[in-house]
């Protein structure tokens, strides 16, 4: 079992944003994290990343916790943030070199992976540029390349589709499915429910810092008694009924 979150309560200050949430992601599983703005998706992600400390509960990746083995724990995670985070002072090439150094990757293997991805995203001739000058979609592509070359066992992908062109969305989905088949776990937070429905194995529906429902599409259909409904239909129905 790759990621295991047990009765996690946490938040930024002393007021808990997340209230006692538990879930797990198995190897080779892609989970969609769904909820309205402010439901607690990003806070959950920050806790898993180790940017926030839980008030209560535990988070384990392959049995490791951040407090006991911080370096090994961090090496397991590849992160694609919602807003691209880039070094103002470094070129695209140097971003990749930084990643190689930080995660102690084998340089030639990592570069051959990187070159393949750069070619896929048509970034090869921009290696000497500052990515901070790129468009939103191109920055996002840089983040994708950096995350995929480290070959983590857990991918955390926060709202990946915004700003990407249709080709890149197709390629990203292809990459995610490829990694999934290799046994990696993926946690994806998104509002693009049509994409989520198409690629996710299971869904976690969050509301006000709690997990409202977990399961596959058919589990959710059964749970909400809406056979044949799409994720989007179920979600808006649910939101209206429950007064989300």
């Amino acid at each position: 079992m790759s990621l295991n979150v047990q009765s996690l309560t946490g938040g930024y200050t002393r007021i808990p944003v997340l209230k006692n949430i538990s879930f797990n992601i198995n190897d080779g599983e892609l989970i969609g994290l769904i909820g309205l703005n402010g439901a607690g998706k990003s806070t959950t992600i920050k806790h898993i990343m180790g940017l926030l400390n839980p008030f209560e509960g535990t988070i384990e990746i392959d049995g490791l916790t951040i407090s006991e083995q911080p370096e090994e724990y961090r090496r397991k995670i590849g992160f694609i943030p919602e807003t691209p985070l880039l070094y103002e002072e470094l070129t695209l090439k140097e971003h990749i070199e930084m990643t190689i150094m930080a995660y102690d990757l084998d340089s030639s293997i990592a570069w051959s992976k990187a070159n393949e991805l750069l070619k896929m995203f048509r970034l090869t001739d921009r290696l000497d540029w500052f990515p901070t000058d790129f468009s939103k979609g191109m920055k996002q592509k840089v983040m994708i390349v950096s995350a995929f070359i480290i070959d983590p066992s857990l991918f955390i992908i926060d709202e990946p589709f915004l700003g990407l062109d249709p080709l890149a969305i197709r390629d990203l989905i292809g990459l995610m499915e490829e990694r999934k088949d290799d046994g990696a776990s993926l946690l994806m937070s998104t509002h693009v429910l049509a994409n989520a429905e198409r690629i996710c194995d299971r869904f976690i529906v969050m509301h006000e810092g709690q997990i409202f429902a977990v399961g596959t599409l058919s589990d959710l259909r059964e749970h909400f008694k809406m056979p044949k409904a799409s994720l989007e239909e179920m979600y808006s129905q649910l939101a209206d009924k429950e007064g989300f």
Partner: protein
């Protein structure tokens, strides 16, 4: 909300923020170093005044550069914020009175600072021009008029939306300013003064005419205010972390060769900060400026002990301005996510600062060569300083 009211609130907030941060600046022992430095520079300057030849070229060139810098630095405090480009657009006309107030305020402030600099340089100008003491009034007046003209030019450029026209006015005013200062220093005080009056008259006519049109160039307003505020906070950032530490980054590809000399690609933090050092102009630019100014002062100075003092002070300033590299490492989320140890940050900074300071130490020692043992004494003092600064001061200050 009434626009003037909004800007009154902003002015209050702006000064409260500045005051809050300046408290930290003036509480630091850096200020004592600066005072000693000012004293040493003043002492060198007054000694120098007695020896300078009226037909010397070097002091004229230095003075020329200095006065041009005085005239061209500083801008108009507008307190325009980036979001105004969206929210205040419909209030275009109501911005006019507020901006005129800003102009008057900025004029008073810049005239005051220009007066101070003109007053301090007046004795040197008198010696160079072999004139009577009354002539210093003409010098000061010329500098003040030139400064006013430059401030008016910046105000005027807020209203220009056409690049060609703006470039023309800017080019003309700037070349007029250059020739005024040049005439004053190399030819005659009086002619420079008369030229400055003529420039002021022409520019004034032009701007009064254009002020009637009220379309503001918002992009420029926002951009210039951002730059101005960042320049202020760049200095404050040396002492205390502020949320305004956004710096200009330049690619400067030719420097990649130097970066490779500095960084052997062995450790993550070094890799990052050596690139930051070269490409963030606030770090590398200030380093080069301080090294050059220090070297020039050392070359002009002949007293051994003063040389040692000046050299050490400049070394301290250079080392000191590099300390905020730590803030940068702390602020970057990635260094929290990477699987690396936290203690390496200070080690990387020590490595970079010691390399940079060693280069300056050697340059300063060469600059202070004047036939005797000066160079060797300065070098020894500098090396001792580098050891102490890197080994003891940095861990204490950043740890």
């Amino acid at each position: 909300m009434i626009v003037s009211e909004l800007f009154k609130k902003r002015t209050g907030y702006y000064y409260r923020q500045l005051g809050k941060y300046l408290k930290y600046v003036f509480n630091d022992h850096f200020v004592i170093a600066l005072l000693i430095l000012l004293g040493a520079v003043g002492f060198t300057y007054s000694n120098y005044l007695e020896t300078v030849e009226p037909d010397a070229l070097l002091p004229r060139l230095i003075l020329f550069a200095f006065i041009i810098i005085v005239i061209k630095t500083g801008g108009i405090r507008t307190l325009i914020q980036p979001a105004d480009g969206i929210y205040l657009l419909p209030l275009e006309k109501k911005i006019g009175p507020v901006m005129r107030k800003n102009l008057i305020y900025s004029l008073i402030f810049s005239i005051f600072s220009a007066f101070l600099m003109a007053f301090l340089t007046a004795p040197l100008v008198l010696v160079l021009n072999q004139s009577e003491e009354q002539a210093s009034v003409i010098w000061i007046a010329t500098v003040l008029i030139a400064k006013t003209a430059d401030t008016l030019l910046s105000y005027y450029s807020f209203k220009l939306n056409k690049a060609e026209k703006e470039n023309k006015v800017r080019l003309m005013t700037n070349s007029a300013l250059f020739s005024i200062v040049f005439m004053t220093l190399f030819y005659s005080l009086l002619i420079g003064f008369l030229l400055s009056l003529a420039l002021m008259f022409l520019l004034g006519m032009y701007i009064l005419d254009s002020d009637k049109k009220t379309i503001w160039n918002w992009e420029r307003l926002i951009d210039s205010e951002q730059k101005r505020v960042q320049a202020i906070y760049k200095i404050i950032n040396l002492f205390v972390e502020t949320p305004y530490g956004n710096n200009k980054v330049k690619r400067m590809k030719p420097l990649d060769a130097f970066i490779n000399l500095f960084d052997r690609r062995t450790d993550l933090h070094s890799y990052y900060i050596s690139r930051v050092f070269f490409r963030q102009t606030s770090f590398s630019g200030l380093y080069i400026r301080l090294t050059v100014i220090g070297a020039v002062i050392l070359a002009l100075n002949s007293s051994t002990w003063l040389s040692v003092l000046i050299s050490l002070l400049f070394m301290y300033l250079i080392g000191f301005q590099l300390l905020p590299l730590k803030q940068l490492l702390d602020k970057t989320v990635y260094f929290k996510l990477y699987p690396v140890k936290d203690t390496d940050k200070i080690k990387a900074i020590q490595k970079l600062i010691s390399k940079v300071l060693l280069i300056t130490a050697i340059l300063f020692s060469l600059a202070s060569y004047s036939g005797g043992m000066d160079s060797i004494i300065v070098l020894a003092a500098n090396l001792l300083f580098v050891y102490g600064f890197v080994r003891f001061y940095i861990p204490k200050r950043l740890g």
